[in-house]
């Protein structure tokens, strides 16, 4: 697993207070990890801060799973 994926996972575990084993790439923040809409906004802001990237509103809306977040941040970092 990439460094970015590790860090994303850690942020999700910390923020949502869920077990690490549940934070699979396919896990949906809302459907599988019990997040509400405010949690997803806070998560996006935590990603922005941790990775020093900006995630615009339209992109943030499409980040619904752990994998979505990892892919988006990896693409930003590669660009």
């Amino acid at each position: 697993m990439s460094e970015i994926a590790d860090k994303v996972k850690k942020i999700v575990v910390e923020h949502l207070g869920v077990e690490e084993s549940k934070v699979t790439p396919e896990a949906s923040f809302i459907d599988d990890l019990g997040a509400d809409s405010l949690d997803t906004v806070e998560l996006v802001m935590a990603f922005e801060e941790a990775f020093n990237v900006e995630i615009p509103e339209d992109a943030a809306e499409k980040i619904t799973t752990v994998k979505d977040a990892i892919d988006y941040i990896e693409a930003q970092k590669a660009a």
Binding site: D36, L38, E42, M45
Partner: protein, 247 residues
């Protein structure tokens, strides 16, 4: 009741009569208070009046967006603890009839009385949502509901504050963070002391409780909304106007 021991409160506009009373009452209930305003020397005097313990001072000009953005972090730094209570009390007026009102009179009032409270709420909420606790009380005015000739800008800002508070209360509710408004009517301050006697009598004549309000009347409402006892009150506007407008 209304015990605020170990709570940190930031009061903006703490140099004014109402702000001073709010700070004094929060402090009397045990809170650590951070006084903010533009005049540093007056802030220091106010801090001294509170005895110097559990009181801090941060000067800030809220017409500067960056200053508003940073104020919460600066307050937490001087207090050495996260913010529990934010009181948006700072405000100014640029009264004149609309046909004479300049764009600058409009935008200055909207900036200081509406945009800066928003910036302070935004900054405070980030931490409060994470900590699952917090109280935000914004001081509006009866004219935000009734309107007032000569105050189109001020009334718009204060009405805006109510709509903003209701929206933020919905966003923050699931985290136990409450946001409410206190809307004072005619309060006796240095500003109203200079009114002619006849005009004051007329004003008082329109108030069922037959007197001007005091800064402490407003501050007591703030203490209630800041307390644990008000845990189930959010998005509300508490009118403190002696019955002048029953709304």
């Amino acid at each position: 009741m209304f015990n605020l021991t170990n709570k940190v409160a930031l009061v903006t506009g703490a140099t004014g009569g109402i702000g001073q009373a709010i700070a004094r009452q929060l402090h009397a209930q045990g809170a650590t208070v951070v006084l903010s305003g533009t005049r540093e020397a007056v802030l220091a005097e106010r801090a001294a009046e509170l005895g110097g313990e559990r009181v801090h001072v941060v000067a800030a000009d809220l017409s500067d967006p960056a200053a508003a953005d940073q104020l919460v972090a600066r307050a937490e730094e001087v207090a050495g603890a996260p913010l529990d209570i934010l009181v948006n009390n700072a405000g100014l007026t640029r009264d004149t009839l609309a046909i004479r009102m300049k764009d600058e009179d409009w935008s200055k009032v909207i900036e200081v009385d509406l945009a800066s409270p928003f910036r302070l709420c935004r900054a405070a909420l980030k931490g409060m949502l994470r900590r699952r606790a917090g109280r935000i009380i914004s001081i509006a005015s009866v004219v935000g509901t009734t309107g007032n000739a000569g105050q189109a800008n001020y009334a718009a800002a204060k009405a805006g504050m109510v709509g903003m508070t209701k929206s933020l209360a919905q966003e923050a509710g699931s985290r136990g963070v409450t946001l409410n408004v206190v809307a004072p009517g005619f309060i006796a301050t240095a500003m109203t002391d200079v009114l002619p006697e006849a005009q004051k009598e007329k004003l008082v004549g329109s108030i069922p409780l037959a007197r001007m309000g005091t800064p402490d009347d407003v501050a007591s409402a703030v203490v209630y909304l800041a307390s644990d006892e008000a845990a189930w009150v959010t998005g509300a506007t508490l009118h403190v106007n002696g019955g002048m407008a029953m709304i």
